[in-house]
Point group: C2
Chain length 720, copies 2
């Protein structure tokens, strides 16, 4: 067994077993968890010490005098219908009064917005007023039977992360933590002073693990104490009158409340971002980075490392922005939910190392009598391992109550195995990713800014709406391809890098991902066409390039060979070519195992030249098309599975016209993948399943090697 690259959580009064487990797992670092204290024995274990640090909460005594400096959010009231010419809109009925309270300090008439949602008109401010005694806005001169909403500013008086844990764990009358917004100079000053003091008081800490910084992702509860709005990339809770004013000074125009609530979509990343929203994100990131940098510098001046947790109050940190590296953060740590979230951590630039916190978290929901937490641990590891082989994490760890994990000896052994495998991968690979054979770019409205975050609502939680698209990321996370993220603006401004082989555009119609109105821009369309025509590949998933324009829905239907009938040309006959039974893209995939996820209805081949490989009842599921020297591939959806990862891999090689390069470093068994480290002259074969697998790996020079892999196994081979 090996040692290092492993962070173990600790617990009070558990020193003896902690030491044993640390040794068993090869831990070189110890962290405290949210709420646990590091006692002297632990400090004296001789490991590096991580300490969680919460910059924006945990100081209620101070905040009680600064309640105007808590985070704020624009909330949209329920739509309220006028039955005559006056209407009363209650503001808080569906919101959780323990979390949110109306901000009456910022003049409603200046900061709020009342909108007639039926006509779309914003009401003049003299047409409504907030009742001073109730949480109700009275509207007069209303149009009967129109629906009205009030967008009002609210204080977030309970930190959502603590609130979530508090409610979930039924913490009763435990004090509610109040967060604060450093947009206010007095708060900034307090935060920095507090940090300074803490650094002095905690000389034993080696790594300050910021959990996290200033702005929580959107997490709003309803009047039944249940989640109402959750958005892991949501920036709703970054607003304040002060921020609005500063923004106006800096950008020369004022944000409207509607730019935040957006008819109820609250800046969802699925919505094509407006200029105002992009500006606001930049504005927020500038502020966040500048303050982060001050904190990081203080940490480093105290001889410690600064580490950022990728989550919770991470809004505005924008770790994929060009300006993030200048913050000078030493490390990133994030929760590894799957391959995608592993890459989301591992691919961040400008930090010295990346650490993954693996699952399961040592909490009673996974560690209860009769449970086998090893199952989740292995599943998590198999998904992450694919990704790590492509883009290394330098460190790993677990979180939660160590004493819970200690009760499951098999789990303890399995973690030891995983930790050794982790270190082994790092050592054998030299901390670099395996060789890629293609370069693939995902094209959407966000580009690099949302690397590995596309299609996400809640972190690592696919649902029926996004699973058909999220599977693309998950497949790519461990695939032998380089992955880039391009925005439409990137392409329009800089063209397409010459080393890119295939562009993927994916998602449902009318979203930032599939592209919506971006495709009405003839420049974009002709640029992509021209690029593909020259011999490149374009893979569309779902409703790629979909926007109704010029008699087509898919603006790149000519490349894909597929369009969607939106009931405007039912009078035009659609002739389907015969299904193509055998094709490179499904060569080793049993047809009956094909899974295209949620149906995209009413797609059709635009001509007999389209090669339809799978289709069902008037829906094209898989088709390929020649486009001059290039190729298009259409997939109706791609939920993650080993077979679908294989399907996408084949589709990408096919689209890139590199079928001849597909075999080498390929595995005959889709449940297995090969990672080749050219500089080291070594390759790994992984079994991504919990069953034993047999596979043949094709090697250069028409050679091959056979492997029989135990469940979840990885096997390393040198090329002689």
């Amino acid at each position: 067994m090996s040692v290092g690259r492993f962070t173990i959580p600790t617990e009070e009064n558990f020193i003896q077993q902690s030491t044993e487990l640390a040794e068993k797992w090869g831990a070189d670092a110890i962290r405290n968890s949210d709420g646990t204290h590091l006692d002297d024995d632990v400090i004296n274990m001789g490991k590096r010490i991580y300490s969680a640090y919460f910059p924006n909460r945990g100081h209620n005594y101070f905040m009680k005098d600064h309640m105007d400096c808590v985070p704020m959010v624009y909330l949209m009231s329920e739509r309220t219908r006028a039955t005559d010419t006056t209407v009363d809109v209650p503001l808080m009925v569906t919101y959780f009064a323990e979390q949110l309270t109306i901000n009456r300090d910022a003049t409603p008439q200046r900061f709020w917005e009342v909108i007639d949602r039926t006509s779309g008109e914003v009401l003049p401010i003299d047409q409504w007023e907030l009742d001073p005694h109730t949480d109700v806005v009275h509207i007069h001169n209303a149009h009967p039977m129109h629906e009205y909403t009030v967008t009002f500013l609210a204080y977030v008086i309970w930190d959502p992360v603590q609130m979530y844990n508090h409610i979930t764990n039924d913490w009763g009358d435990k004090e509610h933590e109040i967060a604060f917004d450093p947009r206010h100079p007095e708060i900034q000053e307090f935060m920095l002073n507090t940090l300074d003091k803490w650094l002095v008081d905690n000389p034993h800490v080696d790594v300050v693990r910021f959990t996290t910084f200033f702005y929580q992702f959107t997490l709003i509860f309803n009047n039944e104490r249940k989640e109402k709005i959750v958005d892991w990339t949501g920036f709703a809770v970054t607003v304040s009158p002060r921020a609005l004013d500063e923004f106006e000074r800096e950008y020369g125009y004022r944000m409207r409340p509607e730019h935040f609530v957006d008819g109820g979509s609250y800046g969802s990343s699925f919505v094509y971002p407006s200029k105002e929203q992009r500006d606001w994100l930049d504005f927020t990131a500038d502020f966040v980075h500048s303050l982060m940098k001050q904190m990081v510098e203080r940490v480093q001046a105290a001889g410690k490392e600064a580490m950022m947790f990728l989550g919770d109050q991470w809004i505005g940190t924008e770790p994929y922005s060009d300006t993030f590296p200048a913050v000078g953060m030493d490390a990133i740590v994030g929760s590894v939910g799957d391959g995608t979230t592993t890459r989301m951590i591992a691919d961040i630039k400008g930090v010295k190392y990346h650490e993954g916190r693996f699952l399961p978290y040592f909490f009673p929901d996974s560690f209860y009598e009769g449970a086998d937490p090893s199952i989740e641990a292995w599943d998590n590891w198999r998904k992450a391992r694919r990704a790590i082989l492509r883009s290394p994490l330098e460190r790993m760890g677990y979180g939660g109550y160590l004493s819970l994990a200690a009760k499951f000896p098999k789990f303890v052994d399995d973690v030891a195995t995983i930790a050794n495998e982790f270190r082994d991968i790092y050592d054998k690979s030299g901390g670099t990713g395996a060789q890629a054979q293609l370069t693939v770019a995902l094209l959407d409205a966000w580009g690099a800014r949302r690397s590995w975050q596309e299609f996400t609502v809640a972190h690592a939680l696919p649902n029926k709406y996004n699973r058909s698209f999220y599977g693309i990321l998950e497949a790519l996370s461990g695939m032998r391809v380089n992955v880039r993220f391009l925005s439409f603006d990137d392409v329009l401004t800089n063209g397409i890098d010459s080393d890119i082989d295939v562009i993927i555009n994916a998602g449902p119609q009318g979203t930032s991902y599939s592209g919506a109105q971006a495709w009405k821009n003839p420049q974009l369309v002709s640029l992509i066409r021209s690029w593909v025509s020259s011999g490149k590949g374009f893979v569309g998933v779902g409703q790629p390039s979909a926007v109704e324009h010029g008699g087509r829905l898919f603006q790149l239907a000519d490349i894909l060979g597929v369009d969607q009938e939106i009931y405007h040309s039912l009078n035009v006959d659609k002739y389907w070519p015969e299904l193509t039974e055998d094709h490179f893209v499904i060569q080793d995939i049993p047809r009956e195992s094909l899974d295209f996820g949620e149906a995209i209805m009413n797609t059709f081949p635009i001509s007999q030249q389209t090669t339809v490989i799978s289709g069902l009842d008037g829906q094209v599921q898989l088709a390929v098309n020649s486009y001059d020297d290039g190729r298009g591939v259409y997939l109706s959806g791609l939920p993650y599975s080993a077979l679908n990862a294989r399907l996408l891999e084949r589709a990408l090689f096919y689209a890139a016209h590199k079928e001849d390069q597909y075999a080498v470093w390929g595995s005959s068994n889709p449940e297995c993948e090969v990672a080749y480290f050219a500089e080291k002259g070594i390759y790994a074969v992984v079994n991504n399943s919990e069953q034993p697998q047999h596979t043949v790996v094709s090697l250069p020079g028409s050679k091959a090697a056979t492997f029989d892999l135990a469940p979840s196994a990885i096997e390393w081979t040198s090329i002689s």
Copy 2:
């Protein structure tokens, strides 16, 4: 057995059997079919004589000198991509050269349009020219990688109906019939003179069956001799330079070629009609009515009746327009495909009688060795009978080769039974429809103009795209409700008639049927809300009132209790109420038999107040909602079946708050329906299935009657 109200087709050299069959079926009229001649023996049978009359074809000798007067059509070329700054667009590659030929007589630069479909721009006329020697348009100064289309005027040189029969029956070198366009004065003159002469030459004819008038519905074939465009309500083939000029004089603006081809949708009735298209329909109807009237007057002056076939060249006859009755037509005859098409004939106003031509047509595709044409006959009759009981046809008949039918004695007997039933219904009911208990209006962009024609592409041919909506019409066609057709304009101009109980809005998003942009009009929305709120019902099917606006897709989500997630608020939690197991609307329908047709994805209850009765994996299939004193009902689709007719009936009574009136005149068995003729004190119970059925009919005064009905049976009962 009874006699009358029955038209029998005839055939040459078949007089003896014709006489026998005419007697067996109680025929009082004889018709010739397309191409069959009436010989003297037939004329002397003493029956009324119908003769098919084809006003706009069958005179090739004349047309050979008037080839500039054949019908014309605007065709859109294939989209052709420019690979550099010039591009050649071949016009005819996908069209059938035997049907269509480019019109080079009307100056292309004046009458054609070249469109950059990528940018949406119309090209200046100096940027392209038609190659005088080939069917190719050369475009210069093109944008590379943009797609271009040429909309060109073409002559229709082969009558589509004859072409269809010619190709289907492989008529070899039989001469192609050339149709003509009476927009030209010399053609009008020829048509009227020809009619005058024909009337003199055919003194024995009692009824001139116009088959039909002047403009064929859109039927365009492709280069492989297969159907390319078919649209039973399509007006594409009504255009000509002369018509365009006359239109401009009359309406003060000029129609563009794009108003006809519309990016490839060719005026599909599913597309929300533009002002220009509506104006053109009116313009065409005015002309068609005026010329029809001249022909009708000549027929009547000759002592005969004028009958119009509802099909083929029926475009512009607009039998549901306000101006149609003034034409003075004596009768309408149409093909009975189902209940919907029966009502489409029966409900036409301004004629003395309506005749249904029932199926099967006496053609070899139904009458071949071993076939049982009775099956289709009974199916056709059962569907039509439901409709006839609500809205009577005065006459019935069959078409085709009588000698074929004569070979199937069981069929001959069955037709005798059907004919007797038909007459019996007429006699017992006194030629009026059964009592309705509700008044229901279908609301869309077309209103009365497209009565019973909604969701239709090809006559009486549901497909996967429209079956979920067409089923509404089919269900209504035989339901104990009055049916109205309202347009959005009707409602905006005149309000909603006070006797209407329920409004139905149905169809896919973005169509004339569900309403598309109409719902952005706050007047419309508030008018419907206000009406429902006052105690009325609104039933939405599919994507009712769908248009993205104000943060909602279904603009009447508040009434329906249901909206659709279009990926703009995935970050907002959707809480589903528990499914309601028992509810009035599904009371006698086994839950496992519910069939909502094609899926509408991602619908959700907008609040816990919505009563969800059926839902599946994030899709609401059936929900009801209270709306002040009114009610909303949402159905995701309604393909026709006896159970779905029942479901809709219940939904309508529920929406109308008339559940208490539902039982009386209801049948306990959904396969049976009751038609009550109040004035006659009589009711009929019909078995709509081919199995025997038992049912209990609820009668006024808490009485009931039990029926055991033979397959397809109808039973009449007097109330004493």
